[in-house]
Every structure is written in C-alpha cells, then in structure tokens.
C-alpha cells in the first residue's frame, strides 16, 4: 500500500491542499460547529433525553452531547467535506483535459490517485484532530459532566469514518467522467450511509444494515460508553481502517483501468 504513494508528490499535495480555501472553509465549519453545539444543549427537552436514553441506555447530558455532536454536527459535515475534498481527484484533471499532461510525468496513474487521496485523508485528519483537541480543552467548561477521555476515544474512532468518506468519494468518482456527476454520486452515497448509521439503535432487528455500514461501526460504541476498554476502541479502528483500505483499493483498481 505504502509503495504506491509517491511521497514527495504526497508532501507537496498535502501542504498545498492544507493551505487551500477548501481546507480553510473546512476548518472553519468544524470549529464553528464546536462553538455552536453547546448552545443547542442548554436546556435539552425531556423528549430528546428520553429518546437518547432509550437508544444508548444512558441519558446523561454528556451522552446527549455526544449524540448531537456526532449525529447532527460531524456526520452531516462529513457528507459534504468528503465529497468536497476528494470527489475531484483525477476526474477534475480529466475534465480540464490536463490528465495526459500529469501522466506524462514519471508517475503511474495509480500512484497519482493514491497520493492525492492520501493527502486529502491527512488534511481531513488534521482538521478533525484540531477540532477534537480544541473540544477536549474547552468543552469541560461548557458541558456538564464532560468526559475528556471518552470524548477522545469516540473521536479517534469517528475520525476513521470521516477518512472513509474521503476515500469513498475519491473511489466512487473514478466511475464518472464529469465532475458534477462524481460530486453528486459521492454525496448521495455518503448521505445514504450516514442516514442509516443509527438505524440499528432504533430497531435491533435491523442490525444487518448496521453490520454492512462503516458509519454504524463508528458509533456502535455509544452503547458501551459506561465501560469502555482499549479493545472496544481498537477493534473498531481496525475495522474502519479496513474499510478505508478497501475504498482506496477500489479506486486504485478503477484508475488502473483508465484510458487516457
């Protein structure tokens, strides 16, 4: 996997993407959400608390916060950020008719694709990390009963759901020739998966939908928040890493069949 990434190109791509407007908007959206969410939770209506309690067996302010933070804030932003960051990879160059120019340089199409996707993943992880650390430092003063360690554990799992969205949209885009179709398809696909993520909590009989959905594995830990172990966290991270690698692998496979 690492052999396919052209590291000097990756480094340049990463620093260019990190300084881009896309990435700055992304950081702003994430930090703004972090600032705004406690406002939503000042007086949670009893029915919200009751619903959260029935899903996760725990209705404390912290668990309500985690639900709102992951479901309302991060999952919704991931849909957009994934597509924004990576739905243009290769498709963009092809639309501008400059793909041949890139590929005439000593870089294989697979490396080009994998390096750009990896850069997008790392930029996403960068802003997600900044947000998680800012949350860990500020939220104890803003949310009653805030548990920094649990928050970091949840964030470290959910981070890989976010990077999966980035990988998935870059991989799906390879099936499209137009930028707009690629962006649309990525958004719709991630929207569907994210929308179904909580379904197994609402009805346990629908667990199959969850088992097949990476975004469910990113939040399945919600029912175990009271007795977290390293095993709970690490197993989910590994599972999500597998999904990430599978998505990139699919993209690489598509790119290798590209006709220029």
């Amino acid at each position: 996997m690492t052999g396919i990434i052209a590291w000097p190109f990756f480094r340049r791509e990463f620093s260019a993407l990190l300084k881009s407007r896309k990435s700055q908007t992304m950081g702003l959206i994430l930090l703004y959400t972090l600032a705004a969410v406690p406002f939503l939770l000042q007086h949670p209506p009893p029915e919200v608390v009751e619903a959260v309690e029935s899903w996760f067996n725990n209705g404390s302010t912290f668990v309500v916060f985690v639900f709102v933070w992951i479901d309302l804030a991060l999952n919704k932003t991931i849909v957009l950020l994934g597509a924004l960051l990576s739905a243009g990879i290769v498709v963009d160059e092809r639309a501008r008719n400059i793909l041949t120019l890139y590929l005439s340089k000593p870089i294989r199409p697979e490396s080009y694709y994998a390096s750009k996707t990896a850069a997008a993943v790392v930029v996403f992880a960068w802003w997600y990390g900044v947000t998680a650390i800012a949350g860990t430092l500020t939220l104890p003063y803003r949310i009653e009963g805030f548990q920094p360690v649990t928050f970091l554990a949840i964030s470290s799992i959910h981070l890989f759901a976010g990077t999966f969205a980035v990988c998935l949209s870059s991989a799906l885009s390879q099936s499209f020739e137009r930028r707009r179709s690629a962006f649309l398809a990525s958004m719709l696909a991630i929207m569907l998966l994210v929308g179904l993520a909580f379904v197994p909590f609402y009805d346990h009989d629908l667990w199959v939908i969850g088992a097949l959905n990476p975004f469910f594995h990113a939040i399945s830990i919600f029912s175990e928040l009271d007795h977290l172990t390293y095993g709970h966290v690490i197993s989910r991270i590994l599972l999500l890493l597998g999904w990430n690698v599978a998505a990139i692998g699919f993209g690489i496979h598509k790119v290798s069949k590209l006709e220029v």
Partner: protein
C-alpha cells in the same frame, strides 16, 4: 422555425443527463425504504416526533422526512446543473465562444437556463409523486389536499431558490464558491428545523412558521388560506431574479 430553434433544441438535449433519473430513483427508493422501515421502529420514535416536532402519525413522520429529502436532493442536482450557465463556461473558457456567435446573452440565458429549471421542477415533481404513492400505499392515508399543497409549495420554493442560485452564481468565477453558497442556503432553510428539536424555547410563534419542512404539516388550514399568496410571491421573486440575472449577464465582461 425561429432563428434559434435548432440551438434551443440542442440546449434541451444537452441538459438531459442520467443524473436526473438517478436522483429521482434515489428519492423514490428512499421513499419506499422509509415507508417499509418506519412502522417497524420502536414506539420511542413516534413519541419523539410527537413531542419534539408535534407530528403524530406514521404517515406524517414519513412525509416530514421525505419532504426534506426531495428538497435537498433536487436542490443539489439543480445547483450542480446551474454551474453550466456561467461558472463552468468561465472556468473552462468557452463562454466567449458561445457569445461570439449571433446569440445574445439573453438568448443564451433563456436557452440554457430554461431546461435546467424545467429539469429541477421535473425531479421535484417526480420525487414528490413517488413519496406520495409510497407513503399512501405502504403506511396509510394522509390528508391528500394537504399533501398536494405541500408538494406545490416545495416545487415553487425550489424554483425560487434555483433562480436565486443562478443570480448569485453570476457574481462568481469558481465552482468552489458556488458550492459554499449552496451549502449556506441549505443551512439557512433547514437550520431552524434542527434547532427547533433542541431549543423550542427560543422560537416565537412567528419564527415557528419558518421551521421547514415541519411547517407544511403544522399549518394545515393557514396554508390553504395563504398558500396562494405565498406561491405568487415566490413566483414573482423568481421572475425578478431572472430579470436581474438577464441584466447582470448582459453587462458581464467576456473572456
């Protein structure tokens, strides 16, 4: 046959894309899936909707979610299509090619924008038809007059927002900012709904009227009284925005 009828036909066929069919199929499958799965949800779900959003029956809960789906998906497809009016031609440098032919900016706008708006309306109507059929047959009856009013208002609102996007996009030169604007409009129109669930205390009775799409289910009789006025104002707003777009495009520097 007018002078430009061949060109207009070309624009119509050029505007047709499989994406539109995929979008309709996507909303239709969402409607079917929601109608299938929703009644199997535990009782905490209807209780939640009843208390948090004052929406009681399964049919209304399904309609609430699917109205939002039609709205979001149609606007997403429409916004991406609208890039073809100005931003993409500028980015990819072929706008002057069009306008150097004997096609005036107004004729170009009419020929290119018309099919895009028509496709948007078609997607919204087809999605709403799928929503109505799925919910009616798989969950149960709802107020039919109310559903027709709501669908009409959603379609007109979508038309208005597409005209707004189109006008705003004429000020931009990059598709990136267009996406930011689309995102902002989504947040502004759907934000009150999300906020209302968690902070109903900050909503005055007037502000409550803007909690879209729950307001379509709440105000059954007011909608039948004011629906026509709302429809006409949105249509008038759309016409105004189209006229502004025409002026703006007429003055735009080419190149």
């Amino acid at each position: 046959m007018g002078r430009l009828s061949a060109y207009r036909l070309y624009e119509w066929s050029f505007a047709k894309r499989p994406d539109h069919l995929y979008a309709i199929a996507y909303t239709a499958s969402l409607a079917v899936f929601t109608s299938l799965a929703l009644p199997h949800m535990p009782s905490v779900i209807p209780r939640f909707f009843q208390r948090a959003l004052q929406i009681g029956t399964w049919a209304d809960i399904a309609l609430f979610n699917l109205y939002a789906a039609t709205y979001v998906i149609t606007l997403l497809v429409g916004a991406l299509d609208l890039l073809r009016v100005w931003i993409l031609p500028v980015e990819e440098g072929y706008l002057s090619l069009y306008l150097s032919k004997p096609i005036s900016p107004t004729e170009y706008l009419r020929a290119r924008l018309g099919p895009i708006l028509a496709n948007g309306i078609l997607i919204a109507l087809a999605s709403q038809a799928a929503v109505g059929l799925a919910v009616w047959h798989m969950i149960g009856p709802f107020d039919r007059a109310q559903f027709l009013w709501s669908s009409g208002l959603i379609v007109v609102l979508i038309l208005f927002i597409l005209c707004l996007y189109n006008y705003l996009f004429l000020f931009l030169r990059e598709s990136y900012y267009a996406m930011v604007i689309s995102l902002a409009v989504w947040t502004v129109t759907l934000g009150p709904g999300a906020l209302y669930v968690y902070r109903p205390d900050i909503f005055s009775p007037v502000a409550r009227a803007f909690v879209f799409p729950a307001n379509l289910l709440w105000y059954q009789s007011p909608i039948q009284t004011y629906g026509i006025a709302v429809t006409w104002s949105l249509l008038a707003g759309s016409v105004l925005l189209l006229w502004l777009a025409k002026i703006k495009l007429g003055r735009a520097p080419l190149g």
